[in-house]
Amino acid sequence: MKKIFNLPFLVAHLLLLILIVTVLQQGQKAVQPNTAFLVGIGLIELLYLYKLWRARSKEKSLKAPSDIVVLVWIFLLIWEITVTQLNIMHPVLVPAPEDVFHVFPTQYRTLLEGVVSSLQLLLIGFFLGLSFGVILGLPVGWIPRLRDVCFPIANVLAPIPPVVFAPYLIAIMPTFRSASALVILLGIFWPTLLGMIIRVGSIDRRILESARVLNVDNRTMVLKILFPYVLPGVVSGLKVSLTTSVIMLTFAEMMGATKGMGFYIINYTHYANYTNVVAGFIVVGVVVTFLNWVVGIVQTKAIKWQ
């Protein structure tokens, strides 16, 4: 039984108390109601307590969640004191935390629409790119003649960052959405294809011999041997692929979308409304963290045989 009420825990809650008291004070700067900010702080505290509870039952360090939350509270305290209380920061460039958090309840509809629109594009591009990469990569990696032709071509095309295609693709594709899906698709496809070709080419000779002495035909080879063999590689690369597609997505959205997370941020940057821009950062951060969490679960559940 480990102690939860250790020193970092007490420090974290002392800081939390100071933060709440400070937020409740009337500051030098006129800001939006502090309700949303306090709710935000409450949510962080809840998440922290949940993590502590999980760490207690899982033999993990109890200190790490406390240390992290201490840093968060210190950051929020500095932000609150310098902007709202003392008003010593740039009035436009550094928005008050109350104002930033107030964006969520007032603009949640726009934000949510943006997130949904972005996620649709992201998932379409991500899954299509991944599927094409794997489906084409397996036979190309396996059949020497295909590999000798495709590998050099892929090596030339893959390093061109798909973001440089983006403006052109937006110009030639019928809709913006199809263009940005295509940008994400390309960003995922080439690295996946190259990875597949290399992985199939370097397959463990003993596995290959075991398969060959069982006289497997090409179809069985690809479906029953090569595909399961490369799958762990695909799964372990999911996080990198996801990060790549988020970069592609936000970039494409900044080029010419009319909705989505990237559009939200670039749009308010044009109006110098940095309160909304910072709120947009937070939304992107939360969404990407959530996606990574989902991918993490998939990774631990997907491969049972290792």
Binding site: R206, R212, V213, L214, Q306
Partner: protein, 264 residues
Amino acid sequence: MGAISIKELSFSYTDHNQSYLALDNVNLQINDGEFVCLIGHSGCGKTTLLKILAGLMLPDKGEIRLGDRLLQGPGTDRAVVFQHYSLFPWMTVLQNVEFGIRQAKKKMPKRQAQQLALKYLDKVGMAAFSAKYPYQLSGGMQQRVAIARALAMDAEILLLDEPFGALDTKRRKDLQRLLEQLWNNGGQRKTVLFVTHDIDEAILLADRIIFMRPGKITACLKVPYERPRKQEEISKSPNYEKLKADLQQLFYLDSELKKHEEDL
């Protein structure tokens, strides 16, 4: 049907434009249902010979006939067990055996193949582990499954490349007994080519021991004991010591020769 006839077989590896003759004009006749152990030092070409028989490599010269068919590549008329990694790590024990059966008998329905797989897993004492993945099994258990798969495929010829080489003495003895038992009692005896460098193993299992020295077959010894064999009984029989001494001398002579070459 399971007879193997090897005529004037040569094979060389090429590495960095240097070619190395691994098999030099090898001739060997193995009868249907015969258990042959191929013995020799590492690098003498015994694994190369087995791989050519498995169809993994094509000979440079010479021909191999299985029964009256010319060997032209891999086929499910031969079942192979390697020292490591014969099983596919992403398939369960049952799926591994079933996959082998369905490769050998494409028309067999899935359910029937599963039942057959279970039957053979039971024979090697692995039926209780049929839902496990290979990484959850010990080396000895994996080899039991590999043997079950090879037998379940009902190939005429079994090719075994040091299948017990990585096991400890106790497990090795258990599996040697199991293999002999299954081979002996399985109705139609299969032709077995068993590569090893363990003299006791060869004497225990083989009808005939073939000794190889780099690239060539240099000796051929008949092992006359009745089956089923027991290590204790064999070691008491009068000509056991002579047979073992002969084999040891072959090994010894070989290392002497090598040493001599190094000295030169």
